[in-house]
């Protein structure tokens, strides 16, 4: 009986020991999390999440760069030749296969709207250059085609199309 009591009290002590340790670890994690979370984008940064832009003033064959969430965004008014060229590329030739239709809005194929940071390391590619009549990133030599799709070089993905929609014929809401 005595040994059993001793035995059970050792068990109880072990349990308390582990439980205290567990509560301590959870407590420490609860303290550390806000200290890390403060590094995440703050409310004032997140508040810039949605903008409107009128594309009507951009003539065919020209681009503008606007800012959305602190990121540069290309808005390009593509020529007919550029659209045809993009549509003619077979998907099997693409590193990150995506059709031209998937990268534009139906009825607005002439507008190509993309985040202007190279998907490699974030430089802004130079327009109307490179070997595929699209963009060329001077930092590490990535070539994008006239639909902003990666064709050659170290970048892994096509230029990112942000979430957007046409509010009217020429007014675009990004974000």
């Amino acid at each position: 009986m005595a040994t059993q009591a001793e035995h059970s009290s050792t068990n109880r002590r072990d349990f308390l020991f582990v439980a205290t340790g567990a509560v301590g670890a959870v407590g420490a994690a609860a303290v550390v999390w806000p200290l890390i979370n403060q590094l995440n984008p703050d409310a004032s940064t997140l508040a810039l999440a949605s903008i409107e832009f009128d594309v009507g003033a951009i003539p065919e064959g020209q681009s503008v760069t606007i800012t959305w969430r602190g990121l540069p965004v290309f808005v390009r008014h593509r020529t007919g030749a550029e659209i045809e060229e993009a549509k003619a590329v077979p998907l099997s030739e693409l590193k990150d296969p995506e059709t031209d239709e998937a990268r534009t809005k139906e009825g607005h194929e002439e507008w190509l709207i993309m985040i202007a940071n190279c998907t490699h390391l974030g430089c802004i590619p130079v327009g109307e250059s490179g070997d595929f009549d699209g963009w060329f990133c001077p930092c590490h030599g990535s070539h994008y085609d006239s639909a902003g799709r990666i064709r050659r070089g170290p970048a892994p993905k096509n230029l990112v199309v942000p979430p957007y929609e046409f509010v009217s014929d020429t007014l675009v809401q990004i974000g």
Partner: protein, 416 residues
């Protein structure tokens, strides 16, 4: 080596202090009487030079922080304010900026010395690993410091390097936002980098303390790599090496001072005198010269390897190039420490040095042929040297006969 104590308190006050906090004893044993191999050459003075460099950066940095403003609207102007308005600011700012470059000159020489003389071999592995940690922390500190003037290269350098995090599968984009405090480099990024740039040098100083502590357990390696066998192989650190180190520091200060007084901006990039603009990428982004070898390795991987895409591949290669240094003690298993007695090793070592200089050169060139091909070749040799050449040489090489002791090598056979 310091088992016997050479310190006897001279008077009652010293005795009183020695019984309570033996700092004088510690200084006497480790800074003055520490037995040091008598054959150390000038390549061994760079440790002391590096301590001086860290001191210079901390003193000038604390002063610059008194006049600098970490805000995207004001940072660029505040650096110009330091250079134009603050008393002596022109020189203090130049010493800090040039000092970063001189720090890396000394760091690279110190590391290449270790690689040649096998200073990483048993029982000095921990000294080497702590040194590699100091190197990596110094790279991080220098990188964050380069963001602070908020010029074009500051901004785009930060953009390129922070995008490295987005290469991590699944959580990469979230980690990048956590690091930057936004969707792109901005004011939150500048603020936190300033905070960390101020913190890290003190962390480095602490690890330097451990590095020297670990050094004082087995004592110094030396140019012949034969351990100290008797007391006549050594001389006391003071005055023999305190004076030699001081002389080397003075010589090191000559090019340092030349840059500060005659060409303070020559090591920087002209684009960094244009204020940061998130809408315009400079035609040609180059990091500071001391990061170029690793930058070359990063961009040399422009092809997919199995399921690893080129971007992640580049990041793994660059990280691997640094991590590789941590395991060098176990890759080079040759019993002979010093490269002077390894006839084959010598060739591959100097080829590695030339290759490293070539990697530096290629990092500053545009991303086009033939540079991209050369970059792949040099990156391949960097990894081959550590992963293949060092282990294989350890097995097949016949080293030259070693002197039996330091004294014999210094004095010749006649005295042995």
């Amino acid at each position: 080596m310091s088992e016997h104590s050479s310190y006897t308190p001279g008077n009652a006050v010293e005795k009183w202090l020695d019984d309570r906090l033996p700092v004088v004893r510690f200084a006497k044993e480790h800074l003055m009487d520490f037995p040091t191999p008598k054959n150390l050459n000038y390549w061994w003075t760079f440790g002391a030079i590096l301590v001086m460099c860290l001191g210079v950066q901390i003193v000038t940095g604390v002063i610059l922080a008194m006049h600098y403003t970490p805000n995207v609207g004001l940072a660029f102007d505040s650096v110009e304010h330091i250079r134009r308005d603050v008393n002596g600011g022109r020189i203090i700012q130049a010493v800090h900026a040039v000092g970063a470059s001189m720090f890396f000159v000394a760091l690279y020489i110190h590391m290449f010395r270790g690689l040649f003389y096998g200073s990483y071999k048993a029982p000095r592995e921990i000294i080497w690993i702590l040194g590699v940690l100091i190197f990596i922390l110094t790279v991080a500190t220098a990188f964050m410091g380069y963001i602070l003037p908020w010029g074009q290269m500051s901004f785009w350098g930060a953009t390129v390097i922070s995008n490295i995090f987005s290469a991590i599968p699944v959580v990469g984009e979230n980690i990048k936002q956590l690091v930057l405090g936004g969707f792109a480099v901005g004011n939150p990024t500048l603020n936190r980098f300033f905070s960390l740039h101020y913190l890290l040098p003190f962390v480095i100083a602490a690890i330097v303390g451990l590095h020297i502590w670990a050094l004082h357990v087995p004592g110094n390696n030396n140019p012949i790599g034969v351990e100290v066998k008797e007391s006549r192989d050594t001389v006391p650190f003071h005055p023999y090496y305190t004076m030699k180190d001081l002389f080397a520091m003075v010589v090191f200060m000559i090019p340092f001072a030349w840059f500060v007084f005659f060409a303070p901006d020559i090591l920087g990039h002209p684009d960094n005198y244009i204020m940061a603009n998130s809408q315009v990428t400079p035609a040609h982004i180059v990091p500071e010269w001391y990061l170029l070898p690793f930058y070359t390795i990063l961009r040399a991987i422009d092809f997919n390897v199995l399921f690893i895409d080129s971007k992640l591949g580049g990041v793994i290669a660059m990280g691997g190039a640094l991590v590789m240094l941590l395991i060098v003690p176990w890759l080079d298993t040759s019993k002979v420490r010093s490269g002077s007695f390894r006839p084959l090793f010598k060739w591959f070592y100097w080829l590695f040095v030339i290759n490293f200089v070539a990697l530096t050169y290629l990092g500053a060139q545009p991303a086009e042929a033939p540079y991209t091909h050369l970059a792949k070749l040099c990156t391949a040799y960097y990894f081959l040297y550590f992963l293949v050449i060092l282990p294989v040489l350890s097995r097949i090489e016949t080293p030259k006969p070693l002197p039996t002791s330091i004294s014999e090598s210094v004095l010749g056979k006649a005295h042995a």
